[in-house]
Symmetry: C2
Subunit: 112 residues, 2 copies
DNA sequence: CTATTATATTTCCATATAGCTATATAGCTA
DNA sequence: TAGCTATATAGCTATATGGAAATATAATAG
């Protein structure tokens, strides 16, 4: 285990659960309360609250306040942080030429 | 827990570990053997092999074969899959206007 | 003040994961 | 063949995680 758990660790971990990804997708439509976020799932309310806590711990959402409701909203900057980490890999999947080059290079290597 | 563990589940889970992210970063430079991949880490060889298994299970890398060596290489398509999932969120972090709009909208809402 | 609504926290259980050490397997090389 | 190198697998431990049920807290309504 790493000494320090970076923001990326917790963010990626948070995204590894389909319920949490669905919650984030729902929040792209705007703020939503816990009750609203629960609705699509066959999960208990505490389970949803736990997921929300994970998402908030990862910095992916934040909590608002409206009477006894605690609406959540996205923090897109955190998503950007993740996208930024992926950026160096982009050229590897976008450039057909590079893939071809690598293929040919390894072929040549095998043929000594 | 979800019934089916999607490719995204395992991919995000794989990315949640800093050792594995470092391994992927190393692999952007090209194929590397287990011994080479171990080198930067204070981890046992089995620990690295386990990480590689996780990465391969997530479809993020694949294994080649060279005598008794088992060089790993990236599968950038899997990374693209992840980037694709992030895409719908991009406008939320890129467009200042949208953020401003949301801010104003929630302000107006509070003022009934 | 009491009841109701919305959400959070606690406790418990089952499973997953990261790490280690020890051992096994695969492929060379002499 | 024996021995070396590279890697994988097994077995174990400690910790983390997802879920449920029960309970607690917060805020509003009457």
């Amino acid at each position: 285990m790493a000494i320090e758990s970076s923001q990326l660790d917790t963010a990626f971990a948070a995204l590894s659960d389909p319920t949490r990804r669905a919650i984030l997708a729902r929040l792209t439509l705007g703020e939503a309360t816990v009750s609203q976020l629960m609705q699509p799932f066959a999960l208990s309310q505490p389970a949803i609250s736990k997921h929300l806590k994970v998402l908030e711990g990862a910095g992916l959402i934040e909590t608002d306040r409206d009477a006894q409701r605690r609406p959540r909203r996205l923090r897109p900057e955190a998503m950007k942080h993740i996208a930024d980490w992926l950026e160096p890999f982009r050229m590897l999947w976008e450039r057909r030429f590079d893939n071809l080059d690598r293929h040919l290079a390894s072929k040549m290597q095998k043929e000594k």
